[in-house]
């Protein structure tokens, strides 16, 4: 069950800061950055901006939870990290590096971000990073739930960091991403072991030959949700808003009800925040609808991922 959440985006802190229409609210801005943190802590002297943002995200989630930092320490807490972009700036810097480079190897490694978090909070339980593009957030959530349900840990942190501004020149080359716009995001969900997490369901696949919507519509979880009494809130996420709208439009041919379901295309509210988008969608659906079931769907190219989250497992 959820014990604490933090969300910081280029729009501000928390769900209430998200606009109704991300493209309009961006008013032509292509990248919405998070503030850069200045931390006076010798332990973090070599840490990259992404590491500092991640630590801040966990601290904020703790403030919104009944837990203290001491509760996270030790072997019974799992740390599951997801990102599609946060390592790119460090790698980009290192690729151009000379002897005076400020990026220390191995801070180029994606695992450096959860690594700093694990050190800062002394977390020594189950631990890994998902890097599967925009699907990584749902995969991390699934894995955290699996670890909790199988008794591998008592608590789990699901942490997502997406950053773009330090290699802005690179992302600005990618018109497909920035036009919606790109929104830096940190998100941390604190989960606790609870029997109701056993009702969370997961499915994933890969749609070859361009049959993404058919693959989604014929997936076992999608069909199970349709057959269930009552209708879910639907959180559809593509890498960009255009992708999300396109899936929504095509899914209606398989399930006409899609048009009437609350929430629908999450990118419309968030902009492009990659692996964080489906988790923001889940939080929005929980906060803004009363539906008993939330169906989160994300895709990254041909690959798709889907989580059915019952409100009862909050």
């Amino acid at each position: 069950m959820f014990r604490g959440v933090s969300l910081a985006t280029g729009w501000g802190e928390g769900l209430h800061s998200l606009p109704k229409d991300a493209v309009a609210a961006a008013a032509g801005k292509q990248i919405l950055p998070l503030p850069t943190l200045i931390v006076d802590d010798d332990r973090l002297r070599r840490a990259t901006r992404e590491c500092l943002l991640a630590i801040a995200a966990v601290e904020t989630a703790l403030r919104h939870s009944p837990w203290s930092a001491a509760d996270l320490a030790g072997q019974r807490t799992a740390l599951v990290y997801a990102s599609a972009s946060s390592y790119i700036s460090a790698n980009w810097s290192f690729l151009h590096a000379d002897a005076s480079s400020v990026v220390y190897f191995p801070y180029t490694a994606p695992s450096a971000v959860p690594g700093e978090v694990s050190m800062y909070f002394n977390i020594t339980g189950p631990y890994l990073s998902f890097l599967s593009g925009a699907n990584a957030g749902l995969e991390a959530l699934w894995h955290a739930v699996t670890l909790l349900n199988t008794g591998q840990c008592e608590r789990a942190l699901v942490l997502v960091v997406e950053t773009f501004s330090e290699c802005e020149e690179l992302f600005l080359l990618t018109r497909r991403l920035v036009s919606f716009p790109l929104v830096e995001t940190t998100l941390c969900v604190l989960l606790e072991r609870h029997p109701t997490l056993g009702t969370v369901s997961y499915d994933a696949g890969n749609a070859t030959n361009g049959g993404l919507v058919h693959a989604l519509a014929t997936s076992a979880l999608f069909q199970a949700v349709q057959e269930r009494q009552g209708t879910p809130a639907l959180a559809l996420c593509g890498p960009t808003l255009r992708d999300g709208h396109e899936i929504a439009r095509q899914l209606q041919t398989h399930w006409p009800l899609v048009a009437d379901l609350p929430l629908a295309v999450v990118n419309a509210r968030t902009g492009t925040c990659l692996a964080a988008t489906p988790l923001v969608g889940l939080l929005l659906a929980l906060a803004e609808t009363q539906r008993e079931q939330i169906l989160c769907i994300s895709h990254w190219g041909e690959a798709w991922s889907m989580v059915g989250w019952p409100r009862g497992s909050l």
Partner: protein, 406 residues
């Protein structure tokens, strides 16, 4: 946690039914095994890119990748890591006879672990400014997507990283997908390539040796890097048998845990590794008395080998002294994300052939590394239960418990 496939029954087991290898000592399972038991060394002067300005110019480089013949009509990806994956997957799927499976309800998934992903390709993009935008598309995930596209897989496609422990963690995640009933079989393993980017990183850390790699030896002075890919096909043992396929081995248990102590060095007390091994053994329902063999991470750095030895003794007690422990990193260098999968394949082959490959270049015992490291030559011994340990930057640890099926 379900899809259309029935969740695993408690009595069902996760089986390895296919294996594929691309390594500096052999580009298929058979030649890899031959290289291991005959003490072949795949380390040489790096030729594929400039090593000017680096303290160390040697590594386990694959000089020429064997020709690939795949089912796809599309051209082979330019990315070297993708090519390695496709080559290893071709062999693994053929061994598992998965290419013969045509039923639409049989879903093959992919879980790839990597320390560098497709970042080696990024070096090439620097010379092609018009293609630089490709760097924004989650480059660590690129090789996995190429592999999925090449084989037209329909199951989950995941890229994970626990740095140099990734090749073990990926197998664990694949087992979890099978247990959840999300997939029928999973192509899982690891890949990494040598490139100037990673050589420069290790060069700055001064962790590469100018000597030979000497795991657990008193004279050990560091590691050398290598490149390769190792993949296995995992499926439920019952599914495999229904298909008429005999499992090569069983993946009994796994765990991946954090040190929480240092960004690039192992915890001096080995807390994370110890917890990881205990958790994997608990999941596998085995005790120290069951363990017959340990395939160590054994990088040949002073600290890693000392910490690993100390943790083996803590977890296994006096039993640790009776168990052969080897490291094959002197054969081919540290292949990073691929290493733990290549070593897992070695464990499976050791059980099948009744032989344990030696730890090359081991000659002078270290008082702090006082276990049986299989010095000299291949040992005739058939392990049933093997432990595979792995570690990586940012305090990553992983452990697999494998059972040989003969």
């Amino acid at each position: 946690m379900t899809s259309g496939i029935l969740p695993l029954q408690p009595t069902d087991q996760i089986a390895i039914t296919g294996m594929g290898v691309v390594s500096p000592i052999g580009q298929d399972v058979s030649s890899y095994w031959s290289g291991l038991v005959n003490g072949a060394c795949g380390i040489s002067r790096i030729e594929r890119f400039s090593t000017d300005g680096l303290r160390v110019q040697n590594g386990g480089e694959i000089k020429a990748l064997r020709e690939l013949v795949g089912p796809a009509a599309s051209p082979l990806p330019e990315c070297r890591a993708s090519q390695f994956l496709i080559a290893a997957a071709s062999e693994a799927l053929q061994m598992a006879q998965w290419n013969n499976v045509t039923r639409s309800d049989q879903r093959l998934g992919i879980v790839i672990g990597t320390a560098l992903g497709g970042i080696g390709q990024a070096e090439r993009l620097l010379d092609k400014p018009h293609d630089l935008h490709a760097l924004t598309g989650a480059p660590y995930d690129g090789p996995t997507r190429h592999l999925a596209h090449w084989f037209r897989v329909t199951g989950p496609v995941m890229t994970i990283s626990t740095a140099c422990a990734s090749g073990a963690t990926s197998l664990g995640i694949a087992a979890d997908l099978l247990r959840a009933g999300t997939v029928s079989a999973v192509l899982a393993g690891g890949v990494d390539i040598l490139c100037r980017f990673v050589m420069q990183g290790f060069n700055r850390m001064r962790s590469l040796t100018r000597d030979k790699v000497r795991p657990f030896d008193r004279r050990r002075s560091g590691l050398l890097l290598g490149e390769g890919a190792g993949l296995v096909v995992l499926e439920r043992a019952s599914t495999a048998r229904q298909r008429g396929i005999s499992p090569l081995a069983l993946l009994r248990g796994h765990a991946s845990c954090a040190d929480g102590s240092h960004i690039s060095a192992p915890d001096t007390a080995g807390r994370g590794l110890e917890h990881t091994i205990r958790l994997a053994m608990q999941n596998a329902e085995v005790t120290p008395e069951h363990i017959d063999f340990i395939s160590a991470h054994g990088t040949g750095t002073p600290q890693n080998d000392r910490v690993e030895t100390s943790v083996f003794k803590k977890v296994l007690g006096s039993r640790a002294y009776a168990i052969p422990v080897n490291s094959i990193k002197a054969h081919m260098g540290h292949t990073m994300g691929a290493a733990a999968t290549l070593e897992t394949i070695m464990c499976v082959l050791a059980s099948r052939h009744g032989q344990i490959p030696p730890t090359l270049n081991y000659g002078e015992p270290d008082p702090e590394c006082d276990l049986d490291y299989v010095p000299g030559s291949t040992r005739v011994f058939r392990p049933r239960i093997s432990l595979k340990t792995a570690a990586g930057f940012a305090g990553c640890n992983a452990c697999l418990v494998l059972e040989g099926v003969v």
